[in-house]
Structures are given as C-alpha cells and as structure tokens.
C-alpha cells in the first residue's frame, strides 16, 4: 500500500483495504488476477445494484411527479414464520428484485422470422459495451478501475457501440416497428455523438489531458476556500455542460429523445419483439448508459469526487461522486416526467443546427479562456464578460432561428 493512501482517513481507503485483504488470501501468482477480478466484480455488482435502485427510484419519483405513490407493494414476502416487524413492505424497495424474478421466469419469445443469432447477441452486446464504459470513471479519490491516459477516447469508443446493438436488435427482430426504431437509433447516434464529444473538447483543451483522473484533480481548487473551481462554473463549462446534458439524454434514448422506443408511435420500438430477460437486459443497458454518461458529466463538469468545499472533505470522495451522480439521475427523471418527445427531423435539426454550432463556438470560447488565463483584476471581469457573451449571444441567435415560426397563439371568438 502506498504511503499516500496510508495517510488518508480510514473511510477513504476502506474499499481498497478490503480488496487488498481479500487479495492477500490468494496465492501470490494469482494475486494480480484476483486484484483485477475483484475490481471488475465491484464495478459490475456495485453498478448493477445502483441500476436496480435507480429503476425503483425512477418509478417512485415519476409517481410523485404525477401525484401518485409509485411502487410500494413489493416487500419481504409475508412468511408467517417471520416475526411481525420483519414482514414489512419496505416501501416497495424490493421491487427491482421482484421485477428481476419476473423477467427471469417469463418465456423468452423469439419471432420465427428473426435472425436468431443477432436477436440473441443484441442484448448481450448492449450490456457489455455499456458496462465497459465504467472502467475509466474515477469513482473516488483512489477508486479508478483503470487509469488510462486516453480515458475519454476509450469512453466514447465503448459508449457508442451500444447504439449499434440497438440497430442489431431492431434489424434482427424482423418487425416493422423495430426496423423503424433501429433506423431512428442510428440517426440519433450519428447526430448526437458529435455534440457530445464537442462539448467535452473544451475541457480537454483547458486541462490538456484526456485522463479522467487528471481532469478531476484539476478541478480540486477553491476560491476563498469555498467556491469550487468546477468547470460548470465557467461560462464555457456551463454551456458545455448543458450541451452535454442534452446530448446525454439523446445518446441514452431518454425522454424527450426516446424515439427508438417511442411507445406511442412504435409500440416499443426495438424492444417490440423482446421479452423476458432479454428485455430486462436492454432496460439494464439503458440505465447503465445513463449512469455512465452521468458519471462522465460529473467527472468532467461537476468536479468528480471533489467535495464542494474543503471543510466537507471529511465525507469520503466516493460518496460525493455518488451523490452528484444521483443528483444528475434525478434531474433526468424530472425531465422525463415533464417533457414530450421530439420528432426525428426535429431531433436531428436540434443537433445539427443548434447544438453542433454552439459546441463548436464553445470550443473557441474555451480556447479564449485558456489563452487569457493570466488576466487578473479588472481584466478578469472583462474575461468573464467576453466569455459570457460568447455563450449567450449565439444561444439567443440560434435559439431564435430554431424556434422561428413557433409561438403560442391568441384566439378569436365568434361574434
């Protein structure tokens, strides 16, 4: 164990201590393998559990948004041998496990005309790729599954494969709805991968690194010991964050961009011909994708595992990361509970006519920001003003063209 780690508070190093303790039990030649296996297992199990409770949280939050209660029934089975206080509904928190059992026990139906191999592979691929992205997320100060220099590149390479899996699913199902959904998924992938990556470029530009760990560390500065230097608190960072959010919603097929599985149009889109556990896998992949991209957003813009103020650092870094992640997910759920779906042409238009130009300008803005890093005093105010103007003006101008022709109307009454 390194000396840096040893100086950390106990909670901060507890997960690593635990891993090392387990690895020590193994014979020496197998220790490296055990080391990695435990890491993989921790990521898979941890985020699977996270996924399970995200689903129930989503359903409960949506329920509350819609003036309902949400799922609150599934609890401890009412075995009469259990003491009374254990026979509790647990506020519906065991709902995901009930769902999992249901999904596992349901019949797996494969259409007779389907391409059976691809139909089987699609859910496997989609989950595999969405899990791979977790490898480079620095969950805590010392909790990085893989420290890559080109972590961002790796993340996007692994992430965009999941949309290809959606296409596999849609095409192999031999269903018209699925096919339409597959085409939509591809159009969406091509349109939104660009703003997603362009929104990240300014950070690479400013920090000069592709490593997620380094990016988080560069945000660990506070003005006056209170104001964190997260990138979201700079003009270009804020704009980048909004673009990143929108692109994330689109990349993960979340409302208002849930066109591939638009249930009111395409029944269930690419999932129409899936049932049972394969369906659950797609569902899982969607949430994994959302979690991973939110994690990336937290890492890049919200200071990663950094505490918002130095005096809050006694809370372990991984809890800060998880807290921010949960915050992002709650925001996504809130969006889902409010907004309606775009049409495919509007979706692509939003990307190419609005987000891509804004993201490109934002790259320039970041360049200006990093070139003027030495300005101080009153010049610093000028720097902020220019950077803000570079964000707001294009937004207003492009926003006007985008919403041209659409406005609430006034109505006349018959005399």
């Amino acid at each position: 164990m390194s000396a840096v780690l040893a100086s950390e508070p106990f909670l901060e190093r507890a997960p690593l201590e635990l891993r090392d303790a387990v690895v020590q039990l193994l014979p020496a030649p197998a220790q490296w393998l055990g080391h990695h296996l435990i890491t993989i297992l921790a990521v898979v199990l941890g985020f699977s559990l996270f996924f399970a409770f995200t689903t129930v949280a989503e359903r409960k939050l949506l329920g509350r948004l819609q003036n309902r209660l949400g799922p609150n029934r599934a609890g401890v089975p009412k075995f009469s041998i259990l003491p009374f206080h254990l026979r509790h509904k647990l506020f519906g928190l065991s709902q995901p496990f009930a769902d999992a059992i249901k999904a596992l026990t349901k019949e797996d139906i494969v259409p007779a005309a389907a391409d059976k191999l691809l139909h089987f592979l699609a859910p496997v691929v989609v989950v595999a790729f969405s899990l791979m992205t977790f490898a480079v997320l620095p969950v805590g100060r010392h909790l990085v599954p893989v420290e890559l220099d080109a972590a961002l590149l790796y993340f996007f390479a692994a992430g965009c494969a999941s949309e290809l899996a959606l296409f596999m699913a849609g095409w192999s199902s031999r269903n018209k709805y699925s096919l339409l959904a597959a085409m939509r998924a591809l159009a969406q992938l091509i349109s939104y991968e660009l703003p997603l990556i362009l929104s990240v470029v300014p950070i690479v530009l400013v920090t000069g690194t592709l490593s997620t760990v380094a990016i988080v560390q560069s945000q660990g500065v506070w003005s006056f010991g209170l104001l964190p230097h997260w990138f979201v608190f700079t003009p270009w960072g804020f704009a980048g964050f909004i673009i990143f959010l929108i692109a994330t919603l689109a990349e993960t097929n979340r409302s208002p961009f849930d066109l591939p599985e638009a249930e009111s149009e395409l029944v269930a889109g690419h999932l129409t011909e899936y049932s049972g556990f394969k369906y659950a896998l797609f569902f899982m992949a969607e949430y994994f994708g959302m979690t991973a991209l939110s994690g990336l957003g937290v890492t890049l813009f919200l200071g990663g595992w950094q505490a918002p103020a130095p005096f809050l650092e006694f809370i372990p870094s991984y809890l800060w990361f998880m807290g921010k992640l949960v915050g992002m997910l709650v925001f996504f759920i809130w969006i889902r509970g409010t907004l309606l779906r775009l049409r495919i042409d509007q979706l692509t238009r939003l990307s190419w006519q609005f987000l891509v130009p804004l993201a490109l300008l934002n790259v320039g803005n970041a360049a200006f920001w990093s070139l003027t890093a030495h300005w101080s005093g009153p010049l610093n105010l000028v720097r902020w003003a220019i950077a803000l103007a570079l964000v707001v003006t294009p937004f207003l101008l492009l926003g006007r063209t985008l919403s041209a022709g659409f406005a609430p109307r006034t109505y006349r009454y018959a005399s």
Binding site: Q66, N67, L259, E265, L340, I344, Q346, R409, A414
Partner: protein
C-alpha cells in the same frame, strides 16, 4: 396504380373538396430508393385510442397513404336498439361515447322527445346543461391528457388531467349511481334530482377548475417541443372541413363558426352567455387550444346554470315512464357533444320499438379527413393527429 396512392376516383378533378393527393411516391424499382413500408397501426397499438387501426404506407417515415380500418368494436348498436323499447336503448347510449355518457343520453332523449312531442321542465333543462357541460370538461381534460401521451410524455399531463376528471366523475357517481355509465336522461326530464349539497359541491369544483387549466397551460402550452410538434401539423382548411362534415372542436379549429349550442340553441343554451373560440390554422395546436378555451367557456356556462337553476319538477308529470309508443313519423335530434355533433335519427312506426334508430357518430365522421391530414407528415405525427381528432371507439364502431 394511382400514383398518388390516393383514391380520388370519382371526384371531379377541379373539386376543391377532392382528397388531397399524397406526395409523389417514387418508383419502387428505383435502385437508389428502398421499398415503401406498409405499417399496420392497430388494432392493438398504444396510441390508437382503442381498437382502431390505420394502415399507413411509409416512405421512410413519411406517410404517403393511410387507410383507416374500422369495425373491431362493432356490435350493431342500431340493430340492438331496433329490437328493444325506446327506454331500454338509453343505457346503451352510455356505451357509445363512454367518456361522455351524459351528453349522449341527452342527444338520444332530445331526439326521442322530438319524436314524442314531449316537453321538458325548466329545471331538467338546466340540469341537462350542467351535466353536459361537466361532461365536456371531463371529455376535454381527458383528451388533452391523451394527446400529450401521444406526443410522448410519460403520463404526467394525462394523470394531472385524470386527477381533475376524477373529481367530476365522483360527482356523477353520487348523482347518477355510476361513474361513466350514467343513464341519467329520460324522455321528458331527468332521472334524479340533485340535492343542494351536490349542487354546492359541483359549483365549488367548477369554480376551481380554471386553476387546473392555468397550471396545465403553464406546464405545456408554451412548451417549445409541444409547439414544434403540433403547430402546422395536420392542417385542414375551412372549406374542406365543412365538406367533410367535421364537427365540434375539430371544425372550429379550422375557423368555422358552427356550434350547435349557438346555431340550434337547443335546450336552454339560448339563455346562456358564452363565446365560441375559433382557430385560424386548423392544425393540431389549434385543436388542442380550442378545447382548452372551450373548457373555460364551459366553466362560464356552468356558473350561470348553477346561478339560474330554478326549483320545480325534473320530470314532466305527463311524461310516460315506460312503454313509449310514439306515433308514426321520424325525428332527427342533434346536440353539440364534446366530440362534435352527436345526432339520433329515430323512425317510429307506432310500435313500442323504434323502426329505425340511427346514431350520427361524430368521431367516425371526423375521421373522414384523417388521411388528408396525415399525408406528408411522419408516422409520429399521425398518432398525434389522430389524438387531436378525439375519437372514442365505442362510437366509431358502434
């Protein structure tokens, strides 16, 4: 094959009412262009509002042909009614438009009263207006909720609308005994007299209804996505709308001032002071907004009706309660239902059963222009256009 994919066969070429031709369908043998895709939307589809089916031919996502298919809920309502007495058809009319049974009840009672020459006491006339307008609130709030579901919200607007609808439906239950199958109107009056407590509860509820509408509009009317999804989608011009017999909010969204409450002033609508909102574009957004504005006008009508409700009998004392035998003749009674003109054409031959009983279903006839509205738009728009027409399959298929 007709290159437009649209059968305007016998229409005079220059007729302004001929069905619009779809975009030119490119040749399927074109090596750079794929096949057209024929997608069957329904009868089991989340957005067809029941067992409605449309067979859409798509070029990419664009609709080049769309044929509605009916009859999955057909039960020959008219034949059933011809085999039972006049009174026994009343509960069946509940099941035509099961969202607004009280309006349909009224339409049937109205036609039968016309056939029988049966007057209706004042209090019953006011009660009919009260219940019909509350039904309009129920129907329109349901519709705007479902419309947003078609637009892809995750049920939020629908559930807000249902929350309000539920309150009105509870009132219906405590008055008529049933939430949706009210079976309330009778020939010559109404079945039950509401208590003063009921009227007070209803008045309060209606008074508070605009608050819901304000919140609803704040949430959705200005939403940029909503504007982009509905403005300019599914346009119908006034001439076409009239010729195709569109009625109700769908017609008025096209700017035609034709509201039977004003035109026929049936019942006591002549005594009510209200305005008829008109749209100028005839698109989905107008159809949505007309309904919102109509709800606001309904609230006004209701306030007046609660204020002016006279005391007195709710049933004409001379009216027969059963075994109606109108003398031979026919009558067509129509009222402004929430979905459009709901009419009943009754023909009597002097026997206790109607010789002919015909329902003029507004939902069905409003679908006449469905293909014209959808052509050139995408598949996603077609479900929204269908949602904005507001159909109920109980009435379309009868």
């Amino acid at each position: 094959m007709n290159p437009s994919g649209n059968s305007c066969g016998s229409f005079p070429a220059a007729s302004p009412f001929a069905p619009v031709a779809g975009p030119i369908v490119r040749s399927v043998t074109d090596p750079f262009h794929g096949d057209l895709l024929e997608v069957s939307m329904g009868p089991q589809h989340p957005s067809t509002h029941g067992v409605f089916r449309m067979v859409a031919t798509l070029d990419g996502e664009q609709i080049v042909k769309l044929k509605p298919v009916f009859g999955y809920l057909h039960r020959n309502h008219e034949k059933i009614a011809e085999n039972t007495s006049y009174l026994a058809s009343m509960p069946y009319t509940d099941r035509l438009d099961y969202l607004c049974s009280l309006s349909t009840n009224w339409a049937y009672a109205f036609a039968a009263e016309k056939l029988l020459g049966q007057p209706v006491p004042d209090r019953a006339q006011y009660l009919r207006i009260i219940l019909a307008e509350m039904t309009r609130l129920v129907n329109h709030s349901c519709l705007v909720g479902f419309l947003f579901n078609d637009l892809g919200t995750s049920f939020t607007p629908l559930l807000y609308a249902f929350r309000e609808r539920e309150k009105i439906i509870d009132l219906f239950e405590s008055l008529t005994g049933s939430r949706m199958m009210c079976n309330y109107q009778r020939f010559g009056g109404c079945r039950v007299d509401p208590t003063p407590e009921w009227l007070e509860a209803a008045r309060k509820l209606v008074e508070n209804f605009p608050r819901f509408l304000d919140e609803y509009e704040r949430m959705l009317t200005g939403n940029e996505i909503m504007l982009a999804r509905t403005q300019g989608i599914g346009r119908v011009n006034a001439a076409q709308a009239i010729n195709a017999g569109l009625t109700g909010p769908v017609l008025r969204a096209s700017g035609v001032d034709y509201d039977l409450r004003k035109v026929d002033a049936y019942g006591f609508y002549g005594r009510m002071d209200f305005r008829v909102p008109l749209g100028d574009h005839g698109d989905t957004y107008d159809r949505y907004m007309i309904r919102i504005l109509e709800m606001r006008e309904s609230v006004k009508i209701l306030a007046q009706a609660f204020r002016d409700l006279p005391a007195g009998p709710i049933m004409d004392p001379k009216a027969k309660q059963r075994g109606h035998r109108p003398k031979a003749g026919e009558a067509y009674g129509r009222i402004e239902g929430p979905k459009g003109e709901i009419g009943f054409h009754l023909i009597s031959d002097g026997s206790p059963n109607p010789y002919r009983y015909r329902v003029r279903p507004p939902s069905l006839i409003n679908l006449t222009l469905l293909e014209d509205m959808c052509l050139g738009h995408t598949l996603a728009d077609s479900v929204v256009i269908l949602g904005s027409i507001d159909i109920v399959l109980g009435e379309v298929d009868r």
